[in-house]
């Protein structure tokens, strides 16, 4: 098992409990979509697994080893993190940006080797954006930036990829493309966890889904069983029904 989360809880300094008693695990080729309302703590949970926040209690095991006892570098070789799209302060080229994924393998006094650049180029090629290689990262579109971000995480060669709202700020077409990309990565054996505001993305991915409610309780299960009309209606405070579409061959969500 790549990732095991046992009894995890978190609250900010002097703040209320964000979530508690969280248990789940993710293995090779599995996708876990985390759903929840704004402010429910989806990103906080993801940041705990990314080793960015220290949980108050509980354990995170990577390949059976407790993450708290691993070095930052050791964790970074197993867990890759894709933050929400943002504009960096400096106009690195897409290639320079992608090769930074190699950081966990580059010594403090070293710069990327020819091999590191080769791996970065390979990742760009896989994402189909090698033609953007010498373009400035600040000048490409949001969709292209998300692709470059994923190329960087591929260059990092992790086993588990965490994506924080990978479809935020993207147009309808690019949202769908990113979800397809995540599916593709899962079929190649990566374990993936993403947070999303769109339950249909979880349905398309058809893996595990976790729902974090306002009381900080995480419910988890297979998408097909868990994402019922009732659950979604309760979660978002709307009247939602799910309809099976014969062309798409899956459920679609409709707000009534």
């Amino acid at each position: 098992m790549i990732l095991e989360v046992n009894n995890l809880s978190f609250h900010y300094h002097n703040g209320p409990m964000i979530f508690s008693n969280v248990n789940f695990n993710v293995d090779n080729g599995e996708v876990l979509s985390i759903l929840g309302t704004n402010g429910a703590g989806k990103s906080t949970l993801l940041n705990c697994i990314a080793n960015l926040y220290k949980p108050m209690s509980g354990k995170i095991l990577l390949n059976g080893k407790p993450m708290s006892r691993m070095s930052l570098r050791g964790v970074a070789r197993i867990v890759g993190y894709v933050p929400q799209i943002h504009t960096p302060a400096y106009a690195y080229s897409v290639r320079e940006f992608t090769v930074m994924g190699r950081t966990p393998y580059i010594g403090a006094f070293k710069t990327p080797s020819t091999e590191d650049y080769r791996i970065a180029d390979e990742a760009l090629e896989r994402m189909g954006i090698i033609y953007l290689r010498d373009k400035s990262y600040t000048e490409i579109s949001g969709g292209e930036r998300q692709q470059a971000m994923i190329a960087r995480v591929i260059a990092q060669q992790p086993q588990l990829i965490l994506l924080d709202e990978p479809t935020a700020h993207l147009d309808y077409g690019n949202q769908y493309r990113v979800v397809q990309m995540i599916r593709q990565l899962a079929s190649e054996g990566y374990a993936l966890i993403m947070t999303t505001h769109n339950p249909e993305h979880a349905i398309i991915l058809n893996g595990k889904v976790a729902i974090l409610n306002r009381r900080g309780v995480l419910g988890i299960g297979q998408t097909a069983e868990t994402l019922s009309a009732e659950t979604l209606s309760n979660l978002y405070g709307l009247s939602i029904k799910t309809v099976y579409d014969h062309d798409a061959k899956r459920n679609v969500c409709v707000v009534c």
């Binding site: 960015l52 970074a76 993190y81 504009t87 400096y90 930074m100 403090a108 006094f109 400035s136």
Partner: protein, 344 residues
Amino acid sequence: MSQNNSLGYVLRFQGILWLSVIILMVVFVLSLVVGQYRVPLEETFRIMFSKIFTINRTWDNIQQAVIMDLRLPRTVAAVIIGAALSLSGATYQSIFKNPMVSPDLLGVSSGACVGAASAILLNGSSILIQISAFAGGLIAVAITLMIPRLIRNESTTVLVLSGIVISSLMSSIMSIIKFVADTDTQLAEITYWMMGSFAMTTFESMLPVLPTILIPMAVILMMRYRLNVLSLGDNEAKSLGINLRTTRGMFILCSTLITASSVCLSGTIGWVGLVIPHTARMVIGSDNKRMLPIAMIFGGVFMLFIDILCRTITAAELRLGILTGVIGAPFFIFILFKQRRQVQ
């Protein structure tokens, strides 16, 4: 095709690197020759090489003194300080993810000014002024670094805010010192000191600060790839396996040592740490792996050029701080104009 592209990149870097090294050498020689006391170019070289080889003496003592005791030390100092300030400026800009940041963000310059001014107030010797400036700079940054720990929020924003608070506190203390200083002697000395100059620089005054400039410079240069990663932001750097506290701390320590040493050698010199990294980024791109060496050479050239102007355009020598501002500010506007598409 992809191979060609990266080859072009490398060639461009090599080309710019060597071209700027040649320009640096030309300006270096120019700096030795230009001045009110005329020493011919050939004599200049003879005087310098006579320290290494045995050369028949064809020059007089004044020429010897002008070159070896006046022009050579200040020329060497200008190159080193220009390179040092550019490097520490570029470092700060990366770790604070903001291209508008200058090396005195955390209060090192204002702290050094208070240190130097206090020493002047006590009629201290020039060595005491140097030591006091250095200590003042380090103390100011130490206080700045303590504040985020006290309030238990070690984000970059809080650190920057602390820097602003400490800088302004130091400026206020500076005002008090100026207020109580003797207006005829001390106030003038403080004011001149704050404007920066290489006029009093000798090899003897340079020697003690060289280690605290050159060693941190070497460390930053060796670790410079980490700057790229830090400039992505705290969370991303951490998720790429960087220990934020030690890495950022190391860069802050090195930059602070560099800036404090520069200030105690030549007073405060503004603009270089801001303008030069921008210029280098415009020419070679943002990758610190290539940008830092280029910025250092550009910084050396710029500082030398300013110093030459300082001693030639008026009969009485101008102060560096005046010209870096007068030339730096319009130059900065020009750079912003050139980059207007990228600046958001």
